[in-house]
Symmetry: C2
DNA sequence: CATTATTCGGATATTGAATATCCATATTGA
DNA sequence: TCAATATGGATATTCAATATCCGAATAATG
């Protein structure tokens, strides 16, 4: 029961793109370098975010990634679903329909109570993740970070951030 | 992000042992046969339950497994922790401390806000699982099952259930 | 009490799927 | 035309699921 490691990278990438707004972005190489992770693997995560519409992409020279919508409209659950998939962690294999005392098929219209309990727990988990947005997270970072560190990030932005073609 | 498949088997096994009370039990072969699953792998789950104290075992002729405590004192969370382990699904690798704009070590005394959000979601998940006991589940099964099916189970119990040595 | 059949306990391969990583290709701005 | 860049598929690696085995412990049996 381990989550895809790329989720951490993807969320951090979104938090990095958020302050740039919808028109400016970063190249894949810049994102990978900033986080100190291999670029090809970071590409996989960004690709998943792109397919989910969380980021928009611009190909070709001076292309890159920018947020696809407002940071307050992207939740942690969105990112998890995009990168890690939407399959439930507990999967009922209908074990009750096997063996010498198998439940008859017609009695299994309703899901097994055990599966129901697990589904409820996962709903609580998703609810908690859906209540946190990227905007919430960057607000915390901006509040906790030291001025010196924030200044270093601003300087890095100046060298790496680039204007992306308008969405129109 | 997939849970160990044995969790489903372990929970069902507990629900099967519950109506037998603390003194009667079932052999490993009976448990595996009842659920139609390979015995060696079922053994692995039962061993995990045994080490966690959820079931007690009796070796030797006519030995087997029985619940280690009351069914109302065993939660789904107990079973998940025993079989699937207690490692968190989201693991923070401190990515913020890497790359050209790494956060200084001293700023990282508090966990990353992203990691905090995921930890909170997992706590909600565990809370939901900890609120459901084996007793709750068997009550639902007893209410939903048809008399014919319950009768077949009773007959099977008559052939397979066995008295285990008292815990004293 | 000695014997024996039965059962759990744990360690160890083998298989298969999921994950992490890399490379070739299409696309775009300059 | 060229260099820069995202995209998709292909490949290697890791991890979990499954099968198999043997030893230790225990209760029934005489
Ligand atoms: S049959 Fe799948 S959880 Fe009960
Ligand atoms: S550094 Fe691990 S979640 Fe932020």
């Amino acid at each position: 029961m381990k989550m895809n490691e790329g989720v951490e990278w993807a969320v951090h990438a979104c938090c990095l793109l958020a302050p740039l707004g919808p028109d400016r972005g970063l190249s894949l190489a810049a994102l990978a370098d900033y986080h100190g992770v291999p670029a090809p693997y970071m590409a996989k995560q960004m690709q998943a975010l792109s397919k989910a519409g969380i980021v928009r992409t611009s190909r070709g020279a001076r292309g890159g990634y920018a947020l696809g919508r407002g940071a307050d409209a992207i939740t942690l659950l969105d990112v998890v679903r995009a990168v890690d998939g939407a399959v439930p962690m507990f999967r009922c294999t209908e074990i009750r329909q096997r063996g010498p005392c198998a439940s008859p098929r017609k009695d299994c219209a309703a899901p097994c109570p055990i599966a129901r309990a697990f589904a409820g727990a996962e709903a609580a988990w998703r609810g908690a993740l859906g209540a946190v947005t990227i905007a919430d997270l960057v607000a915390t970072v901006g509040r906790d970070g030291t001025p010196a560190h924030l200044g270093k990030i601003m300087q890095w932005f100046g060298a790496e951030a680039r204007q992306l073609p308008s969405v129109g």
